[in-house]
Symmetry: C2
Subunit: 475 residues, 2 copies
């Protein structure tokens, strides 16, 4: 089964275009691909004619070419007929948007079984049913919400696979946009009657060059396929992340009605994931922090080696005492700890900062250079800390509100890291006017976070990368 | 000691204005109050002359009036002389910006003791030293960072008292602006040599009519004063929240060098706070959620009674299955649980929604109306749930991305709640284009949150309000 046709079709056709209802899913999908995307797209309507100025064809076998992909957005009853047409015309892939299958109980389960049979017998890559399909920029987008109703992320290294369309759009698309994480391809798998998470994991990790990180929202593995999934994840060149929903007692009950899937036991799942190098964030914040870090560090140009965080030994550099305190408070929660400085080191650092700051700064860990710190003080201390071998990572907490910090500070930190190569994570409030600082860091692929907790989580994510790397090396 | 002079002075004077360095704290404070704030402000410089076009006076006793407040932004050595001038001229309040006191060790401790003596003997309300002072809009702002370097929150019901200037500006000001929490007055207490958190708690809860919620960032109580603080908090008409830093082992060490304060034991502090009705958020996210909820519900016009959440029995209404699952997963973490619906209730709810949604929706808790839901379906189900007495609160998860949800949905929910009076918390992604929906809800004081977890935290905050209310009633 060639999944590529779902994501990189030369051409696609859409059935289920309503002439009366401009908000019907099929019509939105057709019109959005015609006007917004690059794929060659054909609309099918039994009466032909046109819609919003675009010609329609009456039948699939009338098209100027056999499309590689058919999007079916019609009632459950009629859907199977169209899958049969795919079989007859050798259309190798289709996306089924509508519900009315396994998720509605006995009648739907029968229907879904029949669908599976036709698809498997004819080697058709069927995505769905009960899904929002595929977003594969700049080629195609079968999400049946008008583009202007949601926000889509930019192109990047993360492949997304979600069992919930809502989670795909909100926890991933919206939040990705907010914190600038890029997506290679996004897939809503719905009831995953044929194409499932395991097939997609294999496809993205083996065949998709744009992807370096594969993130899932799942409410349980497809039955009998978890073993294969775990194996693939362990072997994958890409980082694999699963955000699990429905692991609580009430959640398990809820997932049954919503995606016709079986959730597993929380602890068993977590242990299996860890053993197979799969990252399992425990909250939405952690999910996004991990993905942001993985995405940034997947870019080709790298300022530091992310595979060196073994013990979690951290130095914290701040210009606000309170921020240092809040940061050090959080280390333990993430299995990290602050190194202790020797008296000699403290004395040497003191010599490196300007006379005003020197007398009020504190050189314990967290280091607090106070509001009197200047750009060069921060740069000098980073340089000093970089030479201390037992420090594995520096967390820099920058509040660019004091007048003596200039808007060059981001660039200066990035250049310093580029020479010293010490892993470094920045906290800077994501405020528009600090954009110049944030951009300088991000252009150099230094990870920047919006809260102290995210910065700490990011170090913990770095350690996950190290463990993964070491595991792979040992083999 | 009259603290009012610190926040509502008729006039104030500033010493420590540098003619050479436009970024010196005293100069920034002077110039910002002249050009940006409403207070009558006088600048003192031994040579007189002018700065940025504004006349300066050479001495405090030459001013046209005795100011109510003196801001001292000079070296530690000279600071005491000016406090003595306050005593001589009967200036009842001063703010000491500079460091060089207890936080730097023995010499500074001596200096601070002397300062305390002069202040107490002469009944001068001294704020600081080592602080960023006061933001009391629209009257005065002694934060020595240029206004355009940070973001200030709008006027509201939360009084802020912080032991760290950085935390005040970042965790409070920046984040408040992001999620629209308003501030009555903000105070940075620094070393709290004279004016401390206990005096401020008393002032804001007894004498400040604009304040309904009092939020602290503390790294420990001032010694010998915690008992008084706890008593005041228990008796306070206002909600009292403390975000504690420096409770971890490494944090305790860090706070010593930074604010010369003693942190307490984590568990003892938490128990004491709870006993005295003080809310203690455990993360920045929780802090902000609590304050947002408290601020919204402090407004006069209230759509529902927030004192009715006793057991934490929740109904979840969603149009995305995944969101419902993630929400129900989170309930337990916050001591809440989803009610079970009877078969009769499920059937009745099913009758209330449009035929397309009806056949694919799920009426267990969480209710998933699916992407086929329309405004009136959501409204009807809220109305239905409102009549079920055992439901204490409804969490509504709205993704306004489906075409059948209109931009009126916020207004319709608000109007419904206004009639039915059932406590209701909304989740809607904070995306600019959803502003019309969010604004309709917020104008009616329905709390809206940006993530599912915050919505769940908000219900837990509602329950805190109920407990507080019941405790006060029993007395």
């Amino acid at each position: 089964m060639k999944l590529e046709n779902l994501f990189k079709p030369k051409s696609m056709a859409v059935v289920g275009i309503s002439k009366k209802n401009p908000l019907s899913p099929g019509r939105i999908i057709f019109v959005k691909n015609v006007f917004e995307m690059e794929v060659e797209v054909y609309g099918i309507h039994p009466e032909g004619g046109e819609i919003e100025g675009v010609n329609l064809y009456t039948r699939l076998d009338e098209l100027p070419e056999i499309p590689n992909l058919l999007v079916i957005a019609i009632s459950a009853e009629d859907t199977l007929d169209y899958v049969q047409v795919c079989a007859d015309l050798n259309i190798p892939a289709c996306i089924i948007i509508g519900g009315g299958f396994a998720e509605i109980g006995s009648e739907g389960i029968k229907r879904q079984k029949k669908l599976e049979r036709v698809a498997n017998d004819n080697d058709i890559a069927v995505l769905g049913p009960n899904c929002i399909g595929v977003y594969s920029p700049p080629l195609l987008d079968t999400i049946f919400m008008p583009t202007e109703r949601l926000t889509r992320p930019s192109k990047g290294t993360v492949a997304l696979i979600s069992q919930s369309g809502g989670v795909l759009v909100d926890q991933f698309f919206h939040k990705f946009n907010e914190i600038k994480i890029g997506v290679s391809t996004a897939v809503s798998i719905g009831n995953r009657a044929v194409v499932d998470e395991t097939m997609l994991l294999e496809y993205f990790s083996k065949y998709d060059k744009e992807t370096s990180n594969i993130a899932f929202y799942l409410e349980g593995f497809k039955s009998n396929k978890s073993k294969k999934f775990l194996e693939l994840a362990r072997e994958s060149k890409d980082t694999v992340i699963i955000y699990f929903g429905g692991l609580s007692e009430q959640g398990i009950k809820a997932t049954k009605s919503h995606t016709a899937s079986l959730s597993g036991n929380d602890k068993i799942i977590s242990a299996a994931l860890k053993q197979n190098l799969i990252v399992q964030p425990r909250s939405e914040l952690e999910l996004l922090t991990y993905l942001k870090l993985f995405d940034v560090l997947s870019h080709k140009r790298k300022l530091f080696d992310s595979n060196t965080i073994i013990y979690g030994r951290i130095a914290i550099l701040s210009i606000s005492g309170g921020h240092g305190v809040l940061c050090v408070d959080l280390l333990k929660k993430y299995g990290l700890f602050g190194v202790e400085f020797t008296e000699k080191e403290k004395k040497e650092m003191k010599e490196l900062v300007n006379p005003v700051a020197r007398n009020i700064a504190s050189f314990d860990n967290p280091i607090d250079l106070t509001g009197s710190a200047r750009d060069e003080d921060i740069e000098n201390i980073i340089h000093y800390l970089s030479k201390i071998e037992r420090i594995e990572c520096i967390i820099v907490l920058i509040l660019p509100y004091t007048p003596s910090i200039s808007f060059q500070i981001g660039r200066r930190i990035a250049n310093r890291v580029s020479i010293d190569k010490k892993p470094l994570i920045c906290f800077i409030p994501y405020i528009q006017k600090y954009g110049m600082i944030i951009e300088a860091l991000e252009l150099s692929n230094i990870p920047v976070f919006h809260s102290i907790e995210e910065a700490v989580q990011a170090v913990s994510a770095l350690r996950i990368l190290t463990r993964r790397y070491n595991f792979k090396q040992r083999k």
